[in-house]
């Protein structure tokens, strides 16, 4: 046996995924490990690639709408919103006020539902299984409301070009209001169970640091960016629909770690509750649909629409050549860009941190791979 001082410990190359309980879908991470320390992370994506952009070129504007649900399946309402808004802008159609309010309401409800999944999943990732079930209990109530309104629990197809599938069903507002009254107490419960738990704090504080400069360079958006101390929210920066009339805070945390992103999302759920209260109070009566032609043939032109989805800046770049089908549709997927910053956050992390950091990014692989 010869002594070799240059040889410290052998590195271990491990595949995390594509089938792994904590990669939140079919993501493959190629890890180079030194014991429990992570030397390098290389995400390998594309396992869920479903050619959504190509499909758009083969279908007409209406037919494509259900596909938007499927691409980021946890915030289908936000995707529908972005797409519908892009098509309506191309057509020069403005939805009725009631429709705009309802769309905003649905988007905010979907934000809560999506954040709840994130919340529970982060708990799971750090080993706290119970909070996951609690979050799903509350999410269930939102899904129930969605089901009442659209007939679907996950992939709603509720927004239509020029309006909505139908008006809110009777009892919807009451159901939502009772949920909103109860929900802040539930958040306080999660806060006590998970966020203020010492083990959880030690697992998340100072872990997965992302500086604002790096966030800017990587194009990170959404709660992940706001967790790095940048107050950027498209609902504020480039407001759409009725957001200018609504009052809400854009929570930010300066720390840039997993805990900061976690707290931002927790606070965002409460802000959404606040927004929903205002929506319910001010929801105007009236028509929900405007007349659009049976055959949708926008003039040639293009539009780039951005909205704030639960995961960040969701962009739709839509080009029309005057025919019935989109000439080109491009999604700016927030998870795609957020995930790109992941190796940066994982510098010097432990294997266990990888999972927590990935959880704090709140990626959806359907969103990453499109």
């Amino acid at each position: 046996m010869t002594w070799d001082p240059t040889c410290v410990t052998e590195e271990l190359v491990v595949n995390m995924g594509p089938q792994h309980p904590s990669t939140h879908g079919v993501l493959r991470l190629i890890l180079r490990l030194d014991g429990e320390r992570v030397l390098e992370v290389r995400p390998d994506i594309g396992f869920l690639h479903s050619s959504l952009e190509k499909i758009a070129e083969r279908l007409d504007y209406r037919q494509y709408l259900p596909y938007t649900d499927r691409y980021d399946y946890l915030c289908a309402m936000a995707n529908e919103l972005a797409y519908v808004r892009a098509v309506e802008s191309l057509l020069g159609v403005e939805p009725t006020p009631r429709c705009q309010w309802i769309r905003v309401m649905m988007a905010e409800m979907n934000r809560i539902a999506s954040h709840l999944v994130y919340y529970g999943a982060l708990g799971m990732d750090t080993g706290a299984t119970t909070v996951f079930l609690y979050c799903f209990r509350e999410r269930e109530r939102i899904l129930q409301l969605f089901e009442d309104a659209s007939g679907q629990r996950l992939l709603y197809h509720y927004f239509r070009i020029g309006g909505l599938r139908n008006d809110l069903p009777p009892g919807f507002c009451e159901g939502l209001r009772s949920f909103l009254d109860e929900f802040p107490r539930r958040v306080a419960e999660y806060d006590a169970l998970l966020t203020r738990n010492r083990i959880f704090r030690s697992r998340t504080e100072g872990v997965g640091y992302l500086s604002p400069e790096a966030a800017l360079s990587y194009g990170v958006t959404g709660p992940t960016l706001r967790g790095s101390g940048v107050s950027y929210d498209l609902r504020r920066a480039a407001p759409y629909y009725v957001y200018p009339e609504l009052e809400f805070d854009v929570p930010t945390r300066p720390e840039g770690d997993v805990m900061a992103r976690h707290l931002v999302r927790q606070e965002e759920m409460l802000q959404s509750v606040h927004l929903l209260h205002q929506c319910l109070d001010r929801l105007p009566p009236g028509e929900i649909n405007v007349k659009v032609p049976r055959k949708l043939k926008p003039d040639p032109g293009e539009i780039y629409v951005r909205i704030e989805s639960p995961r960040g800046e969701l962009g739709v770049y839509l080009i029309s050549d005057g025919s019935e089908k989109p000439y080109r549709l491009h999604w700016r997927a927030p998870s795609f860009h957020n995930l790109q910053a992941y190796p940066e956050m994982c510098q010097g992390a432990y294997v266990a941190d990888l999972v927590a950091i990935l959880g704090s990014l709140d990626i959806i692989l359907g969103d990453v791979d499109r």
């Binding site: 046996m1 001082p5 240059t6 040889c7 410290v8 410990t9 052998e10 271990l12």
Partner: protein, 172 residues
Amino acid sequence: MSDVQIFADLAFYLVAALILVSALGVLFARRVLHAALALLPCLLGIAGLYAVLAAHFMFAVQILIYAGAITVLILFAVMMLQRILGGGILAGSHNPLVGLLAAGTMFLALVAALLMTDFAGQDPGSLGVGNAAQLGQALLTREVLAFEALSVVILAAIIGAIVIARTRAEGE
């Protein structure tokens, strides 16, 4: 009392066979990890010998220290080393002559010790090997100097290990 004698003899032979077989396993296992694992029944067998001799304290300590701690340590080291050295350690001997010499000397010394000890004149009870209280008394009164000296040696070894590990880590 012949029944008990038969029982004790039977147990002794069983345990001795276990020790011998597993010791041979340590010698002839091709993978070093298997050799290390074969050490485990060997050490457990020795614990069994203590049990046959009704030295219960030694029995438990043998398992706790040798089987539970030292074997695991060896396994750990083997797993780590095997990864460090890349090719894995061959469980063969590189220097049979030196090994033979060392083993032979050890064997002779043991035989000499066996022949020189007067077993018949010893009362097992007076040695107090199986009794924790007597052992503790002895360690903290009569043998306290040796006990303390040993602890200093072990402390030095621990510090030495840390120093070596540290310089290695800095040398990357």
